[in-house]
Amino acid sequence: MAPLTAFVLAMALPAVASAFGQDFYVGFASRILIMAMLATSLNLLVGLGGMVSLGHAAFFGAGAYVVGILATEWRGVGNYALLAWPLAMALSAALALIIGAISLRTRGVYFIMITLAFAQMLFYVALSLKAYGGDDGMSLSQRSSLPGLDLAIDSHFYYVVLALSAAVFMLYQRLCAARFGRVLLGIKDNEARMESLGYPVYRYKLAAFVIAGAVAGLAGALMANQNSYVSPNMMHWEQSGVALVMVILGGLGNIWGGLAGAAAFLIIEEALSAFTKHWAIGVGAILLAVVFFAPRGIAGLWTAKR
């Protein structure tokens, strides 16, 4: 029931915000949901499959660049959301297939480092795209277009993001409940055992990696729309680090871990920045406290209490 209540409350947000004249919060909520999608896709890898990737932002950035490049190269048609967003997911999935196929031959610390290496390579590729702004990034003149909606209006865009993020959470839940998720959990627990039980471990992991990459690409496409801006920094390893922080903060392997982590991180950041420009010290201190006092994350605290 709780998810449904939350969804109804989320539906009402734009109306409530505009009643109080606080339209800023609609865009803010979109940002939270988009980061929640990114974090949830990473949670599929880390929480479910035990694959700690420190290069997940590469797929996020790749999705954003697809939207940006299509919009500049192919005015009009390139702006269609129904074309650009699936293409963003497809490119990110293809990159994830290549990077995953190589990276998944390693494990543990080496997997962390090799995903990081690949993400850094893509980061430098983005830096070299001088036609698309190089290290300055590129501004988008308008948001993608969807039939029947005007995405330039923040509340319309918010509803689209809400629907897509709800779909991602449902996908995560279904994957967890399905055989696929059970096998991934088994692999996380004991890879050798699953291997000897006859499961094609490598293929399961690669499939998870590709799904996570595609969802991250979608999140990137949406973030490009939200900010009307794309830059190489979306692929920087610190962005991957932030996504990982959100997952751990929210709760590893918990369906709501990605959402809780993204919401907590962005809200803390927003709240502290109202008091001091050195808010990052506060965020850091809170993260340290989470490591030592709430090792199962925020969503973990919630389930532990019940």
Partner: protein
């Protein structure tokens, strides 16, 4: 390509590689012995550079400011180990990454709060600002030669420390089998603190020595940290010898890439493309090197554990 340029770039590569070694030596020991992924290692490098700049200005002498900064950073490192990092050794890599990522945020923001957003300048000492003839007809900046000399000296000292002293023996024992070393009565805790202090001191030395060549600014640690991790992984986690070879390899490949890839590209691509893609290709070459090494030698060049 002329011989003079080649010799110059070789020296530049060795010089950069030796500074990377100073960073990687501490990182690989912490990584190998304590099994700790310390993302905040780059922050110690930044703090060292800032302290060196400030103390040099305060004392009016680089020769006085440098050792003071190294000692101060070592103390900061040991305090950090005792207060935070010590409690992370037994935790999983994810918690370690979250906690040390939090430390990066705190360190960066605290640096901004103390020193401001402007980057500091650290000037080359007057006596070393000239050039020296290393070969007939080949001159090289004296300060860069000093960096090479210091790097070689420290590498030799470390070699003697690790292979010829009682403390080095305990460090090696701890690296190859922590439980056994503890069971044989080694006070691992105190040893770890000391090792961490030495690692921090080496970071500060690298930061201070590179300070006059690069800008002393917030964020300087994050970029070089990734390179240091690449060095550690290439060399084999926990191996000082591996870190040395890996650092020189990365330093030379990076420098040669930057020096020669853009000019080579210009031979068969339009200058605008070559100028944009060249530096990126050079940066990518390092990560490619790491992926290739991991592909052939999954444990790195000098695996330290059997």
């Amino acid at each position: 390509m002329s011989g003079v340029l080649l010799i110059e770039q070789c020296l530049n590569g060795i010089q950069f590689g030796l500074m990377l070694f100073l960073l990687a030596a501490g990182l690989t020991l912490v990584f190998g012995i304590m099994d700790l992924i310390n993302l905040a290692h780059g922050s110690l490098y930044m703090i060292g550079a800032y302290l060196a700049a400030t103390l040099t200005q305060a004392t009016g002498s680089f020769l006085l400011g440098l050792p003071l900064a190294v000692i101060a950073t070592a103390v900061i490192g040991m305090v950090l180990e005792v207060s935070v990092l010590r409690h992370l050794y037994r935790r999983d890599h994810l918690s370690q990454m979250l906690a040390t990522f939090a430390l990066i945020m705190i360190a960066n923001e605290a640096t901004r709060a103390i020193w401001g957003v402007q980057s500091l300048t650290l000037n080359v000492p007057e006596a070393l600002s000239g050039s020296v003839a290393v070969l007939p007809g080949v001159t090289y900046p004296a300060y860069r030669l000093l960096i090479i000399a210091v790097g070689v000296l420290v590498a030799m000292l470390l070699y003697v420390l690790v292979t010829r002293t009682r403390m080095g023996m305990l460090v090696r024992a701890g690296a190859s089998n922590r439980e056994m070393a503890t069971a044989m009565g080694t006070d691992i805790r105190r040893l770890f603190t000391l090792v961490f202090g030495i690692g921090a001191a080496l970071c500060a030395l690298a930061g201070a020595m590179l300070g006059p060549l690069l800008a002393v600014q917030v964020g300087m640690g994050e970029n070089i940290l990734i390179l240091a991790f690449v060095v550690v992984v290439i060399g084999g986690i926990g191996s000082i010898r591996g870190a040395f070879v890996g650092a020189l390899l990365v330093g030379v490949v990076d420098t040669f890439g930057r020096a020669f890839i853009p000019s080579t590209l210009r031979a068969f691509a339009p200058p605008s493309v070559a100028d944009a893609a060249g530096p990126s290709l050079a940066a990518i070459s390092i990560y490619l090197l790491m992926v290739m090494v991991l592909f052939w030698k999954p444990q790195g060049l000098f695996p330290s554990r059997g």
